[in-house]
């Protein structure tokens, strides 16, 4: 449990996604990070059906994270969030009549997990229907739970291996009430991932539209 920041790294010029990822791996290892297995995060989209006509159906996103292997997280974009047991997936199957799975919209990010002292860095390839679309970098600082206190340190750390691609403070943290103790939790991580995946999905539309 710590403060997590998820950002997207653009693919380097003239290189494939895999090569960029390998470059990042090398940089991290030079820094002194130790590889500690792999991770994956995925996201499925469900349409609500049977609601009043004229209103666009709300999208329910069901996400999984290998860091919390026994949990299932359900999010509405900007709306209420739910943390549930792994049986939530079975529940969604039973609620087929109300929630339809948009199978083509499943996005996942898989990659290696590195540990450097108190930092956990996860470099993942974002894939949608088995085509690589981008690179996600998640940095977690395990020693702190208050984002405001450690953001500067995290930014510095990210700059050391991401260079100019280091992001600004994520909006989930800025929207937290100032002054009150508002610890970061897994839901902040997942909403950041959701933003990233939505961006990746929208990105597809642009090059795809030119093909069509």
């Amino acid at each position: 449990m710590g403060v997590t920041c998820v950002c997207q790294v653009p693919v380097a010029e003239g290189k494939s996604v895999q090569q960029t990822v390998d470059q990042l791996h090398k940089k991290l290892e030079q820094l002194g990070g130790v590889k500690q297995g792999s991770f994956f995060v995925d996201c499925e989209t469900y349409h609500t059906t049977g609601n009043a006509s004229g209103q666009p159906s709300k999208l329910l996103y069901v996400m999984h994270n290998s860091e919390t292997p026994l949990s299932c997280l359900a999010l509405y974009e900007g709306g209420p969030y739910l943390t549930a047991d792994a049986n939530f997936d079975v529940l969604m199957v039973k609620l087929k009549s109300h929630f339809q799975n948009a199978k083509g919209h499943k996005v996942e990010s898989r990659g290696a997990r590195y540990r450097y002292c108190d930092f956990l860095v996860k470099l993942g390839t974002v894939t949608m229907s088995s085509s690589a679309r981008g690179i996600s970098v998640e940095v977690e600082y395990c020693a702190c739970v208050v984002p405001g206190d450690c953001w500067n340190l995290m930014k510095e750390f990210m700059q050391s291996f991401l260079g100019s691609n280091a992001p600004e403070i994520p909006s989930v943290f800025t929207s937290k009430p100032e002054g009150l103790f508002a610890p970061a939790d897994c839901m902040d991580t997942m909403s950041q991932y959701l933003e990233l995946f939505s961006k990746v999905r929208k990105q597809q539309v642009l090059p795809g539209s030119s093909v069509r």
């Binding site: 860091e67 026994l70 949990s71 997280l73 943390t83 549930a84 047991d85 049986n87 839901m187």
Partner: protein, 642 residues
Amino acid sequence: MSGSPAVRVSIESSCERQVQEVSLDGVETYVPPLSMSQNLAKLAQRIDFGQGSDSDEEDLNGESRESEWSKQNPDEEGPVKFQPCLWPWDSVRNNLRSALTEMCVLHDVLSIVKEKKYMALDPVSQDPTVAKAPQVFQLISKKKSLATAAQVLLKGAEKLSKSVAESQEQRRQRDFNAELLHLRSQWKLRKVGDKILGDLSYRSAGSLFTHHGTFEVIKNTDIDLDKKIPDDYCPLNVQIPSDLEGSAYIKVSIQKQAPDIGDLGTVNLFRRQPKARPGAQAWHSKLEAAQNVLLCKEIFAQLSREAVQIKSHIPHIVVKNQIISQPFPGLQLSISLCHSSVEKKNQRTSPDKTKPDDHLYVLEHNLHQLIREFHKQTLSSSVMPHPASVPFGPKRLRLAGPMAYDKAEISSLQPSDGLLEKIIKQAKHIFLRSRTARTIDCLASRIEDPQIQAHWSNINDVYESSVKVLITSQGYEQICKSIQLQLNIGVEQIRVVHRDGRVITLSHQEQELQDFLLSQMSQHQVHAVQQLAKVMGWHVLSFSNHVGLGAIESIGNASAITVASPNGEYAISVRNGPESGCKVLVQFPRCQAKDLPKSDVLQDGKWSHLRGPYKEVHWSRMEGRNFVYKMELLMAALTPCP
């Protein structure tokens, strides 16, 4: 005749008593009436003993008189016959007369017999046969009567004894029942047919061991209550399964690795039977001992199962009743089940006393605790009640999903280590801790100059202990306290945290710790000089913890310091190494050095006050009980009084 005046009539009773005299003044004196005895005497005088009713003459006279009177006066028959005033005395008179007659006859006979002329006394002869026959008869009759009496008594006695026996039997039965009730209050019993069986296993407490653990309760009431009851008499006895007899314990010990493995599995050391608690029944101690044997068997079965299943770098050896594993190279941990049945006790007690007791009782106790915890887990009430949609498991694990626990938290919830691994880890920690303590104590006793103090923490874990090691000089504890080490002794490693923030991890080798402490001690001396200089007003010119010059030390590095006196005239240089010891040099002003060649270059006299040559101090000949004291004296000697 009415109308005539009433006539006064006076009535006077007739005077019953006679007037004796009338005195001159008219008072009459009556004759006092006769008293009872006087009256009786008067009446008795009237009796005429001559007139008897049973004499013939008188009868005739009486008859004649009667005939006369009957002729004369037929009306007076009644009074003449009865004679009322003499009738009460008539029988008396007649009896007395007859008695007098008899006495006279007797007197006459006796007087005649005395003369022996006309009458003689002759004894009557007794018939012997008539006399004897009544004796035998008497005997037989006595015998018969005695027999009947005896029969009556016997019947009564029989009844009595029967009732006594019945009450005794009842009492025995009551004792047995009371004892059975007592037994039932502490052990589980059930009735199967006409047998009473009990359960001494831990199955109801959560054990999964497959031993049945059944014991049988036997009545022990065929004891004669008339005789003296032995002290340990108990109306009920228990019969325990044959493989749970005797007593057992688990022996955990760490030894240097035995070069030969020939005699494995023969560890059979017994300790003396614990004395039964006074007041505890025989069955109680028997059942407790049997239960203990069962628990030890379960522990050993679990350990051997794990020893065979779990893969580790160096496999564990399981031989008969012993499990051997190697926690550290050169060391051997042996866990053995020592089970002694009662008969063999006498043979085996003698070898006990020769071998030292390296039994780690703490680990034996911990094994018992761990298996009981395992029992509790299988029987944990936190499993029920549970939501219908969730599989069985502890409650916290059910919450792992909704609370988004990460992997570290989940793994902390799940039991990972088995019994054997836990015990091996604990044994390793105990061994490491004792070896660390031994190392520190050895050093402390060997080296006197910087003193080494160890403050062990009272609060520790089965897997972790900590000790604070201070290196000080005697008498200068407040000044020279820069070397303080916190040692955290874990399962396999020792983590040292220095006061200046360095963290060093040492392995289990005791040489590493010893070398480290020696290097710290040598550093301490130089630090002490630095602190002393502050106190004495000397200036530190240079200080290095690890000098790169001079002989190479095999343990750590040498440290050096140079301090200058307050007026700058003298300087002291100290180099201290763990092996090379300490070397102290003093720098003198040039004017005090006698063998310096005079040079033309220096023209001003002030240059002779600069420090010049060095001279070594014979440190061993210095006065002072330790290094810092000597240094203080040296500094004091080199600071001239103003």
